[in-house]
Subunit: 280 residues, 2 copies
């Protein structure tokens, strides 16, 4: 069986995918992106390669016999003028630069298209490991109250709007007030700043209110960059005094679901999968 | 001449308005909101009063002979269940609570309507002191480059969208990428976090790129809560490596314009007033 090719950035997601592929017997070949090398991935067969070496990536994946390829983990946007480009990278650069001005999603589509043109089958993390995908309904904790449901719906509407502008995939709403919108700082930094807002407009650990909502951008390339949550997300949701975390069912990844459920129950927050049509 | 009534929160704006009203010969009566008492305002005739004492505010303004009233300065949303309410405050509370769920703008409209019903003439800061309003075109520094203009237009579009959802009045865009969107944390905190983003996606003081855009929410109550910028905004724009600050012409306040211009020239950033129809 052809090993799964993983083009990997930082975080637990590429590790979960690699472990799963090894356990299933498929095996893996992991290309870690230079500057974003996740140490836990060094135990797998693979290599480290620069972001600009597109030709090198393709050649190595072919040499390793890969057919299926998945992009997983966090890689920040490079400074394009500092990239060390190989021939293929140079050929692709004009397309990449013009896509980059249209946002992250356009940029990622250029990469996916190029890999497909080269005969690879580009899969999403959720297609490689179905366990990761968030289900619908209550996942942990108590059912959201009517106030929580109103906040979930409003935040879902907000993220649909900011997502349509390719701004980000998350927002925090408390009693109808939008406390924070996620852009390039990421979810963890957004939750940290919510924890620093005046307690008059947010919840506390004795009186929880408000929700974090994560959902994909409308029409986004689901094979790359699906919103990802994990135990640390649950912990930061709790630290910000929120009542819970709501993600779009089948539109977000739960990394280590059972550990997330355990953390949510322990901290007294809910995890809830809302229907994909909410707030659209 | 009836003195100008100022219901004042924190910051330099109420001070600028009070100084102006005294200099013009109108005189002032300043009600400082408890918990948000700007020390520099203690030299003016007035009083300190709680947010829930709506009846008390109206009575004092009448006793001081005020006809024109202006709301100025920063007051965070209170915890409504902690408010000390007088009779008038209690009568207004249901309306306030239901408006609060619809956002800041709806909440402020309830207050304006009540003051008008009581016979006061509620004015915006820009109507009381025309010097504060941002003009159109270049205000300081070098003309924005074509890349800067593209970022200004994209950020103007983003803030129109987030404003329509009553999220906030500001965003930062660099090379087409939305670095940050302002919600309850305020402009200064948003700029501080931009300064902490990877230098690959933002400018630096040797190679400035990206812009902060501030504009009112579409259709917002302009007499309260017009976006306000000052010298510290210019300094934080520079510290975040941005090329400049763009505000909607006639839709934002410049506090101490000449000091802002001086800071912008010194730090090498522009201040630019874009046309109100941009990005709509």
């Amino acid at each position: 069986m052809a090993p799964l090719g993983i083009i990997a950035g930082l975080g637990d997601l590429p590790l979960a995918i690699a472990d799963n592929a090894v356990a299933s017997g498929q095996g893996v070949y992991v290309l870690r992106v230079k500057g974003f090398e996740e140490p836990a991935l060094s135990k797998f067969p693979g290599d480290i390669i620069g972001l600009g070496e597109v030709g090198g990536v393709l050649k190595r994946l072919k040499a390793a016999g890969c057919k299926d390829v998945v992009f997983a983990g966090i890689v920040n946007r490079p400074n394009f003028s500092d990239l060390k480009l190989d021939m293929k990278g140079m050929a692709l650069l004009p397309k990449v630069l013009s896509a980059a001005r249209q946002g992250d999603d356009a940029l990622l589509r250029v990469l996916v298209n190029e890999f497909e043109k080269q005969g690879f089958n580009v899969l999403g993390s959720h297609e490689v490991n179905g366990q990761l995908l968030a289900p619908a309904g209550l996942i942990a904790g108590n059912n959201p109250s009517p106030d929580d449901m109103a906040d979930i719906e409003h935040a879902a509407r907000v993220v649909a709007a900011t997502g349509a502008l390719d701004i980000g995939q998350g927002a925090v709403v408390c009693d109808g007030l939008v406390l924070a919108v996620e852009a390039q700082e990421g979810t963890d930094a957004m939750l940290d700043r919510c924890a620093g807002l005046p307690v008059t407009i947010r919840g506390t650990d004795t009186k929880r209110r408000g929700v974090l909502v994560k959902r994909p951008k409308p029409g986004q390339e689901l094979r790359i960059d699906l919103p990802t949550t994990g135990v640390s997300t649950v912990e930061k949701v709790a630290a910000a005094g929120l009542a819970g975390l709501a993600i779009e069912a089948e539109g977000a990844l739960l990394l280590n679901k059972s550990a997330m459920q355990e953390a949510a129950e322990r901290l007294g927050v809910f995890i809830y999968g809302f229907p994909p049509e909410l707030g659209l």
